[in-house]
Amino acid sequence: MKGWLRQDGRKGIRNIVAVVYLVECAHHVAREIAHPDRENGVHLVGFPGCYPNPYARKVMERICTHPNVGAVLLVSLGCESFDRAGLAQAVAASGRPVETLIIQQAGGTRRTIEAGRDAVARMRSVLDAQVPVPMDVSELVVGTICGGSDATSGLTANPAMGRAFDLLVEAGAACIFEETGELIGCEGAMVPRAVTPELGHEIAESVSKAARYYATLGYGSFAPGNADGGLTTIEEKSMGAYAKSGASPISGLLKPGDVPPHGGLYLLDVVPDGEVRFGFPNISDNAEIVELMACGAHVTLFSTGRGSVVGSAIAPVIKVCANADTYRRLSDDMDIDAGRILEGRGTLDGVGREVFELILDVADGAPTASEAMGHQEFILTYKSFEPAGPACLPARAA
């Protein structure tokens, strides 16, 4: 496996030019800049809001200094409130080429697109001349989510991905699972897995925060349809999602933008702190993928039963299909057929091993299904978080 070495010591498995719109008003111009080179390692990301938000600022900085990103072009309308100078400074300080185009100063749409394409070409030639260095599994950060779930997700894809997580953690990699709102009822199982009792307490607190938050939003977390499909209790439903975490000890509790300090298994707390503001914690699956990338995830494992087709900008998404019928229908979009376990054509351990090996292939440059078809979804919205407390990341025993 090879990676591109960054100044902070992390290594990227891709070497991407990120074109970043800093407000929706700059989205079209940024997209036009990136579009001709979208299959040539130039990806579009952005934040649509005109009002400032420290969370969005932090996540965008983490995305622009993500190990898979080699250079950054910022595209600003000019009057939005995003701290473009601060972001450009942070990217420059990370050792990456960075340029900023301000549409109002550059002469409007057409001239900014021309200037942007020139800038991208310069950056691309710099990155294409860079030589990757050897990279070890222990330097990988891997995230996991589920989306478009059905009754099979918790039986096949999620536990198989959990086994892949165990293999990764054993090899020294950092693995991140998330969505505390779907872990209600799992605290009893999760807390004893924490490496310290204090961390266990923080994990239990993060789940009760999620329960309060979703209760305020008026969520029912267990639908009658779940019982029709054979699920009986909320803890059973949650365990289906929780199975993604595998069986390793839990080394820390992260908030979006916190990078794991060393290998091990981490829980990402995605539910905002404080009173309910700005609506739903994550409005769609890609918002969760963006938060995992903000924590440094090089690759995201995505389990789906009904059949999601999304990928992501910046970091490849590996689609693990839980349902064999869905796999047959959407095979172009899927990387792994975990549903075959239910047809007696595979085991959880076998599929877990296959997921693990595919992660290594993808880290070595093999494109995932969504990546090969040009999926580069990205969404970042308003949220608010308090910094994680000291108990959330216990020092590792020597």
């Binding site: 918790g154 019982a227 054979g230 009986t232 803890e235 059973e236 075959r340 239910l342 299904a369």
Partner: protein, 107 residues
């Protein structure tokens, strides 16, 4: 693009039950099961049981935990025989009652 690889184990005849962890006292029906059919060594389906539903792998006494994924997913509200379906009729959440259609509660 990636092609699914073979597990290294020969494909087995379609088994009736998936047992996720060794500590589990329930398995999951991998296809509709017929009453009286042998579904695991020493376990016979006590009734017709639908795909995705839980089946007791051994006797579970009232008050004992139902274990799936290696952890408790609730408690038995009745004595459950090996081979019986394990669902709303004989188990309950240790957290919240399960809401069914029409405002009915499972507890």
């Amino acid at each position: 693009m990636h092609t699914a690889s073979v597990d290294g184990v020969a494909a087995q005849p379609l088994s009736a039950l998936l047992v996720l962890e060794t500590a589990d006292n329930v398995g999951v029906a991998l296809r509709p099961l017929a009453a009286g059919e042998s579904i695991a060594p020493g376990v016979t389906a006590a009734a017709d049981i639908g795909f995705g539903f839980k089946v007791a792998l051994r006797e579970i006494a009232r008050g004992q935990k139902i274990v799936k994924y290696g952890v408790s997913i609730g408690s038995a509200t009745h004595d459950i025989a090996a081979g019986a379906r394990v669902h709303l009729e004989n188990m309950t959440s240790d957290y919240t009652v399960t809401h069914l259609r029409g405002g009915e509660l499972s507890a």
